[in-house]
């Protein structure tokens, strides 16, 4: 007969959430379940399946199950694998250089600028390099904005210039100097072969060469941009998918305030 079990059994430490040893979750705490897929450039065979399994073991999967293998072409095989990850991480120790500000509203931002800086802020934005994707930068800058949020052009206390796409870093810096910009916004969508990293690094170099990097709040954004990456590349902040104009504006007015008034 089955044993009776009481709620106390849930206290089993193996089955308790321990944030210092956070593990993936399939259907039970700490089961470590993960799904992996990849292609190997070898013909499908039992040996290829075994190879896929070994690679999964190297990734830290205990007992990996090759749930699916598929011939992609002579010489390529595709695998879908499930297994239990032996790795865990100390969640309490994770350091997100996240932009963790209370987001202000359009009105609050305008008031903040009026009160603190007593003038309009000058913002210049573009999708730089050979990148032709404008939808991201438009979402932040165009008055019609994005998902119901007005873009920066709609802010009374912001003078916004949206240069569009395919703007060379040189042109961009020239415009920044001409307009005496406070804030620069750079959008990057194409990231194949890390072309965005090259392009963003080049911009920082140019700004430094012109000796204007210090005086400017430099921000980048795009679907594959994270704040961590942005900081590594010498930007003040980076914003990814789902950014709203308010998020960016809150960041730069606070940052400006910090720089000027502290």
């Amino acid at each position: 007969m089955t044993q009776n079990l009481k709620p106390q059994d849930r206290e089993d430490p193996e089955k308790k959430l321990d944030l210092t040893k956070l593990k993936p979750y399939g259907d039970s705490m700490n089961d470590g379940k993960v799904q992996v897929s990849f292609t190997l450039p070898v013909k499908i065979s039992l040996k290829a399946i075994e190879a896929a399994k070994y690679l999964a073991v190297k990734m830290g999967l205990r007992d990996p199950l090759v749930a699916h293998s598929q011939d992609l072409d002579n010489g390529f095989s595709f695998f879908i694998i499930y297994g239990e990850l032996k790795h865990n991480i100390d969640y309490t120790n994770i350091n997100v250089s996240a932009i963790d500000l209370e987001i202000m509203s359009l009105k609050e931002i305008n008031n903040f600028i009026k009160k603190k800086f007593k003038r309009k802020l000058i913002v210049i934005g573009a999708s730089t390099g050979t990148d032709a994707h404008t939808v991201g930068i438009d979402a932040i800058m165009n008055i019609k904005g994005y998902a119901g949020h007005y873009g920066l052009e709609g802010y009374e206390m912001i003078k916004a210039y949206n240069l569009g796409a395919q703007v060379s870093n040189e042109e961009f810096v020239k415009k920044a100097i001409e307009e005496n910009a406070d804030i620069l916004l750079v959008s990057q969508t194409v990231t194949e072969k890390n072309i965005h990293v090259q392009n963003l690094t080049h911009l920082v170099d140019l700004l430094e060469a012109e000796n204007i990097r210090e005086g400017i709040i430099l921000i980048c954004g795009g679907a594959r941009i994270s704040n961590n990456l942005a900081k590594e590349l010498g930007f003040d902040a980076g914003f990814g998918s789902g950014t709203s104009p308010e998020m960016v504006a809150t960041f730069f007015v606070k940052e400006m305030d910090r720089r000027l008034n502290s």
């Binding site: 089955t2 044993q3 079990l5 009481k6 705490m29 749930a67 699916h68």
Partner: protein
Amino acid sequence: MIEKKKGDINQRSKLDLDQKKIESARKLANKIALKTQNVIEQYTTTSIERSVCRLLGIDGVDNYNVPLPNLVVDQVQRANKLEKGVALFIGNAMLSEQDSPQRIAGSISRGEIDITSLNFNDIDSIKRILINKSKERLNLIEKKSSQRQELLKKYGEKSGPYIYVIVATGNIYEDITQAKAAARQGADIIAVIRSTAQSLLDYVPYGATTEGFGGTFATQENFRLMRNALDEVSEELGRYIRLTNYCSGLCMPEIATMGALERLDVMLNDALYGILFRDINMKRTLIDQYFSRMINAYAGVIINTGEDNYLTTADAYENAHTVLASQFINEQFAFLTGLKEEQMGLGHAYEMDPSIENGFLYELAQAQMSREIFPKAPLKYMPPTKFKTGNIFKAHIQDALFNMITIITDQKIHLLGMLTEAIHTPFLSDRALSIENAKYIFRNLKNLGDEISFKKNGIIQKRAKEVLDKAYKLLEEVYSLGLFDTIERGIFAGISRNINGGKGIEGVIKKDVSYYNPFIDLMQKKLFRGDK
């Protein structure tokens, strides 16, 4: 048998089905059911008697974890007196001992009393005390049922398909976590899958359980815990979340009883499943099914029948008509117990080999046909399972097609497919992805069903006609053979079973003329005459 009136078919037939043939098929099915019913009513089973105990209020286990209902029934069976029904002995003991069924059962478990050897009181007094107790207990069930009605009134009924997902961690507390998450993600019905092979246990486990394989034990306490959790999340979401479990296997009527007492909303209830896939004796489980359906009917529970299962062993293209024939028979069996059409979640499944050209059209024909033939039944539609492989990406598409059929043909109880069907019981994320899949399709194709009609005599209409014709022929065959013979010949699911073989036959007992079960009478009066 209830005949369908023309007006019942609120949707104009898109398939141009022969309405006369449908009517005749229904009549045949009714005759098949009646023929079987004659046999069924001559018998009781150990599990029916155990559920009489439970209905009378006997619950709990002894020191060896043996459930008290088993101990009580064992005592009567050992005395070779089960043919009279356990109720009379309990009623007699209640009179003699001036005690409650539960406390009498406690005495039995401690070896303090043998209820079969007590002097017999006057039969009318025995029946009177039993009827009083039974009414009191049935009231509890009615209360649960009204409570459901109130909650449904409070939150409102959902239009469109119910999204039905399973939880199966083996641990009721983990199941609760998963169930609540699923409800928040959009699920309307949560089914707690049973641990493998519980259907073969000839007793119901007791208490909250945290160890099961491929599912969690069905126990009354687990039912209660989960129903509470779902009530909480219903309140949070302002949406009534239904709870389902399996009322099949050797304890079918007991589980029906537990479910009635704990306000389960849907019960998988099908004798054929046990016969074909669990090798349970056919008489045992058909007899059990009769009593359990009556309990479900009484408790306002929707039953789900298991025709979908046939297609996991038989080919869906070749054997589609066996599903329809079985739906007709199941409908009649259900009517005989007092179940209303609105409680009949007749089963079918999307199980066509994905490599078949125009497979989607055949599935569409089948689903639309079920809808038109059983217009009021909340059909239970099962997802692709058999042809799922470890290719989770393809599996997700298979489920998308299935979701489409449901929204196009207006199925009601929609059991979501999982992209990992061929791999494991669902992860939290699998369920979330499947719910997202269904919600996306349901929203995006919302009115497609109203918008399209099918070509006269096209592939779809022809297919539906062909399936109906074949089902009709099969019903004729079943009628002439009888249901028991039909099963012996392996006509359903390609699996044949012997009338005297299989598990649980030792629990089938021919009723004596003196046999007495207070609940049958009371429930039937309410169900058929609307008595209060």
